[in-house]
């Protein structure tokens, strides 16, 4: 699971969960992959991100220092930032571990890089 994906995930499919976002990441095994840097692509992704959640996620997986707490203005011109963003969003992957719902603490396991967000019958 990439952090880009994590940014979109929520546990609010569960009953009694209001937001369910962002999910806390407890990573056991991580890995880095190589993805071609496409500056334009990253620039276009940024407006779609929840920045706070991204920073939170980066923190969870030990990449806190890579990103500023708030998205600076003029980010589109900051190539260094964009490169770090590219890395954190697309190249860092959680292979195994779990995602934790902030409201219920329910854990969603991740194995083989695949989060299991299937809910039980009594949770919906």
């Amino acid at each position: 699971m990439k952090l880009m994906t994590h940014n979109m995930l929520t546990s609010k499919g569960m009953k009694n969960v209001k937001e369910g976002f962002p999910l806390k990441i407890q990573a056991e095994e991580m890995r880095n992959v190589d993805i071609d840097y496409d500056r334009d692509f990253i620039t276009r992704m940024i407006p779609k991100l929840d920045w706070k959640a991204l920073v939170f996620a980066a923190q969870c997986v030990g990449h806190k220092e890579d990103l500023p707490d708030t998205l600076p203005e003029g980010y589109e011109n900051d190539n260094e930032l964009l490169k770090r963003l590219h890395h954190v969003l697309l190249e860092v992957e959680v292979v195994s571990g779990c995602l934790e719902c902030p409201e219920t603490q329910r854990k969603f396991p991740i194995s083989n890089g695949i989060p299991n967000m299937l809910l039980n019958e009594d949770e919906v």
């Binding site: 994906t5 499919g13 276009r44 890089g113 695949i114 989060p115 299991n116 299937l118």
Partner: protein, 717 residues
């Protein structure tokens, strides 16, 4: 053959039967093997899951002996039982067949043993009638039979206005009123120009004179069944016809299947059948007989004729015993009387009149089919989906993925047309067929099957497991979403709507969604869909259906390979679902579609039993000395999507053949093909649009593509 070979071969036979016995003893510990001949034979490697069925077993047994009284075949099992009048007769058969002869279509001989008893018989009870059924033999003379058979000219095109009077499975003519198969009822306001033919006046009068019906029938349906043709199980619509249904059989005799679908009530105490399985009776209708269905047989039992080439009937040459009767051309005259007004039976489960005041009386086209399939509750729906979708895909994942490699062009076009930097969701992404095509978008996928998600993951796609009814994504997050061949697996309209609603929820305003679902209409005008075209032989059941294309599966039904498909109804939860015959027109909207699992190639196969040891439960088995097991998913063990199924193992020894291999294990045992049943609700024209119209979306495009109804919509706000 040398003595060594004989001995070695016989050792093999002994080993095989031991393994079969071990399975039996695990399944049914009450049944004991006997060293000495008994009346009952256990057939260890011929059963419903090995493509054997009653016919093929009767054929084998009667070719070497006689006195066969009953066969017991259990669903989901690879073994069966044969019971004889005496132990001598059983012995004759076992000595001749065990280790020597095989069932038609099988490559190995049968392995048999004597047993002290056979299990309670869930297979159809012969020679017993459902309540309300009577069969009057010799209702017409041979001369009259000839006259009636020649009454209808099957060569000429029907003069009625409606299309589809000549059905693919059997030819039909209506007189008096037309029975419409699309809605399963009669349009009472539109009698046909052709009334009852004058030539049968004598018959109509005889029917009233003999007390079969209180007044003259006014609707006649003539069916012509060629060998191999049948009619799916159904209950005649309560509101269309009155209490009595009469069917005159001409030409050949046939076995008719009756199944109780009424769902409990006062009758259940008098009805036999094992727990959880509705009774299934088979009644032989001789030529020139009139069958009369009233009461429960008319209203609460479904009747149908299996499309097959032979019937198993009582033997004519002995007092007891079974024999195989080849089908002959059969013409049936079904006489009915139109009911004016509604049915008052109060049996909600099977009656279309029940609660009719509450139903929306809209245009004729939207009238639902009122066949035995009744709308399941949400919980039943979830159960149907779990057994017949979720669990199935996990088990067929690899094979399924291999057959899903060619993306449909119009879907690809949608994906490729998305602007740079879009976020795209693939709901029910399967093996990732539509992922990775557009490098300019960020794409994520989800599906219920962990096995399929691993296949995606191996290709580097971002995926997760989830149910489309609860998408784990935030609102307004995606620029586009596709949902290809997914929502036809949901068992109620409410759930299908919920799935689309979820898809809309996660889209941005102005975001577009694309949905594809399987269409009921597989034929558009004269043009057949690819799915139908793969049925090269034409009519169902008459000939072998060959596997021409790897997109869909061969030999649609687990009974046997001779091309004869048994049209059956499977009880799933509270609902009866017919089993569709692959590559034929859809006869109903809700059904189970078979998938025959091709066993993995030898070099790549994993030893299933090893897999089971890790608790993933795909195939039942364990480390100890077990024979091949081939559980059907009809009673499949627990599948957990959380299982961490083993990655490729190195240097592991296979329990079965003891061979070692570096990456995966080689299992030399060949397993009989398993068949899985997937639930489908195929969509009628306009149905998908009607779903979308209930949501806040604008329909951009609505079209038909290769047997699918498709829609592109845009989220309005």
């Amino acid at each position: 053959m040398s003595m060594e070979n004989c001995r070695r071969d016989w050792n093999k036979v002994k080993k095989k039967i031991s393994r079969c016995i071990a399975i039996l003893q695990r399944d049914l510990p009450d049944i004991h093997i006997s060293e000495y001949p008994t009346k009952h034979i256990f057939i260890g490697n011929a059963g419903l899951t090995t493509n054997a069925d009653e016919s093929s077993l009767v054929e084998l047994i009667t070719s070497v002996g006689c006195g066969l009284e009953a066969l017991t075949l259990l669903p989901g099992k690879q073994y069966s039982f044969a019971s004889f009048t005496s132990h001598d007769q059983a012995r004759t058969v076992l000595v001749a067949a065990h280790g020597h002869l095989g069932v038609q279509g099988s490559t190995s001989p049968v392995y048999m043993a004597y047993v002290d008893k056979v299990p309670m018989d869930p297979s159809p009870i012969k020679f017993r009638f459902p309540p309300g059924l009577s069969v009057l033999e010799d209702f017409v003379s041979p001369k009259e039979e000839l006259l009636l058979m020649n009454l209808v000219d099957w060569g000429a095109s029907p003069s009625t206005a409606a299309q589809g009077s000549v059905l693919k499975h059997r030819q039909v003519r209506h007189f008096g009123y037309e029975f419409q198969y699309s809605t399963n009822c009669v349009d009472k306001r539109q009698p046909l120009a052709q009334g009852m033919p004058p030539a049968i006046d004598f018959l109509l009068r005889r029917i009233v004179d003999r007390g079969c019906m209180p007044s003259l029938p006014d609707q006649l349906t003539v069916n012509r069944y060629l060998p191999g043709q049948g009619i799916p199980p159904h209950v005649d619509t309560h509101s269309s016809f009155t209490d009595e249904l009469l069917s005159l059989s001409l030409g050949g005799g046939v076995n008719m299947d009756f199944r109780y679908v009424g769902g409990g009530g006062s009758n259940s105490s008098t009805i036999e059948g094992s727990k959880d399985k509705p009774p299934h009776y088979v009644v032989y209708l001789p030529p020139r007989s009139l069958s009369v269905m009233t009461g429960p047989a008319r209203y609460e039992w479904s009747h149908g004729i299996c499309p097959r080439m032979t019937d198993v009937v009582a033997s004519r040459n002995s007092i007891t015993g079974l024999q195989l009767l080849p089908r002959q051309e059969r013409i049936s005259f079904t006489f009915r009387k139109i009911r004016h007004g509604e049915c008052s039976c109060q049996n909600a489960r099977v009656c279309d009149s029940h609660g009719k005041e509450q139903k929306n009386s809209s245009k004729d086209e939207s009238k639902r089919s009122t066949s035995p399939y009744e709308l399941p509750s949400d919980r039943s729906a979830a159960r149907i989906e779990r057994e017949h979708v979720l669990q199935v895909y996990d088990q067929i994942a690899e094979h399924f993925s291999v057959t899903r490699h060619k993306p449909w062009p119009q879907v690809l076009e949608f994906v490729l047309s998305l602007p740079r930097g879009s976020l795209l969701l693939d709901v029910g992404c399967g093996n990732g067929k539509y992922m990775g095509h557009n490098k300019q978008v960020f794409q994520v996928g989800c599906d219920t099957s962990f096995e399929l998600m691993k296949i995606c993951n191996n290709q580097g796609f971002e995926v997760l497991t989830s149910n489309c009814l609860q998408l784990p994504y935030r609102d307004y997050v995606f620029d586009a979403a596709v949902c290809i061949a997914v929502i036809h697996h949901l068992a109620t309209e409410k759930r299908r709507l919920a799935a689309v609603r979820e898809m809309v929820r996660v889209l941005n305003v102005g975001g577009q969604g694309l949905i594809y679902v399987w269409a009921m209409e597989q034929r558009r005008g004269e043009k057949k869909s690819t799915y139908l075209k793969q049925n090269k032989e034409g009519s169902v059941g008459a000939e072998m259906i060959k596997d021409q294309n790897i997109e869909e599966k061969p030999s649609p039904n687990y009974h046997h390979d001779r091309g004869v498909q048994k049209n059956e109804v499977v009880r799933s939860g509270a609902t009866s679902l017919p089993v569709h015959v692959n590559r034929t027109e859809f006869m109903q909207q809700d059904m189970l579609v078979p998938w025959k699992l091709k066993p993995p190639k030898k070099n790549e196969s994993r030893c299933e039993r090893r897999r089971c040891d890790r608790g993933c439960g795909v195939v039942h088995g364990s480390r100890s000395n077990r024979s091949q097991s081939s559980e059907s998913t009809v009673d499949s063990p627990q599948i957990t999507n959380n299982c961490d199924v083993l990655p490729s193992q190195e240097n592991v020894r296979c329990d079965n053949c003891h061979s070692k291999s570096r990456k995966k294990m080689v299992c030399a045992e060949s397993r009989p093909d398993q068949v899985f049943h997937r639930y489908y609700h195929v969509f009628k024209q306009g149905e998908l649009e009607s779903l979308c119209s209930q949501l806040n979306v604008k329909v951009i495009k609505s079209y038909y593509d290769e047997g699918n109804w498709c829609i592109i919509f845009q989220k309005s706000s």
